[in-house]
């Protein structure tokens, strides 16, 4: 029993002594951390790919809107153009809504900035903003039963 314990202890100690180099080696396996610009480029490229279909666009958008970030204007534009290419305006509007929702607490400051950046693309494609559609407020909401 003692021998087993001693052996384990020795192993653990060996681990701490030469641990640093091993950790470095393991970290290198994961490659370098992706910078924000590279991330933007990757998704821009993903959405701008020729022959992308609605399935892939939805996948990309779902992934992006599930992350802890606000998509940069370039990604949003690429997404809108992708929706144009697959001929689905509903997708474009929903994408805008999702990006607006991602602004979270900073919607008052961040959303106008995003809108300003992407407005040329919106005009070019003919995609209405959420405010133009009146989707910033519930449209088909039922009247409260207490007010009837």
């Amino acid at each position: 029993m003692l021998r087993i314990t001693a052996g384990k202890l020795a192993n653990a100690l060996r681990g701490t002594v030469s641990g640093t180099s091993r950790v470095a080696a393991v970290r290198c396996l994961h490659g370098t951390e992706e910078s924000a610009e590279e991330f933007d480029k990757r998704y821009e490229k993903y959405f701008s790919r020729e022959g992308i279909d609605g399935w892939e666009i939805r996948k990309g958008m779902n992934d992006l809107l599930g992350m802890d970030l606000v998509p940069s204007p370039k990604i949003i534009e690429a997404g809108l153009r992708a929706a144009r290419r697959v001929n689905d305006i509903a997708l474009a509007i929903r994408w805008l809504e999702g990006c607006k929702d991602k602004c979270g607490d900073h919607q008052a400051t961040l959303y106008p900035f995003l809108l300003e950046k992407i407005s040329p693309t919106l005009k070019e494609l003919g995609v209405p903003t959420i405010e133009e559609l009146g989707y910033d407020k519930p449209e088909l909401a039922l009247k409260s039963v207490y007010d009837l």
Binding site: G54, W55, R58, K59, M61, N62, L65, G66, R84, N87, D88, I89, A90, L91, I93, R94, E97, G98, K100, D101, L125, G126, V127, P128, E132, L133, Y135, D136, K137, P138, E139, L140, A141, S144, Y146
Partner: protein, 147 residues
Amino acid sequence: MSGEREVVGYGVNGSPIYIDCVEFPFPAIRYKEATPEICALREKELSDWKKLSLQEKKTLYRYSFGQTYAEFQHFTPEWKLIVGIGLWACAIGFLISLSYCAKLYGPFPETFEEERRQAQLRRIIQLEMQPITGLSSKWDYEKNKWK
């Protein structure tokens, strides 16, 4: 389950279910089945989107999605129902415990009588139980009264 609705994505675990939620805003199927009007509109959508009227854009949106973000995130008075059910559960539990007291449990044992409890206290003090921080530490044995 999905009827004649067009499957447009992978969805949750690959099942064609329509759902409006923030975590997963693009569900696997469209919200409505294609009608001749929608098909005509889809044909029109192929051309420049600027030619579509606002109403047509809305129709296309509602064809793909059931509720907008503003609608499904709208604050509902559902909390009243939940609070109500919670309070009802508390009330019923309280009534049940009251009925136990009234019907199920007999009278208190005789050791709960005032005299016996006094005697018990006296004995605790005489035995000097918990003399450092407890009950007996508060008793002055020289003057024979509470400190």
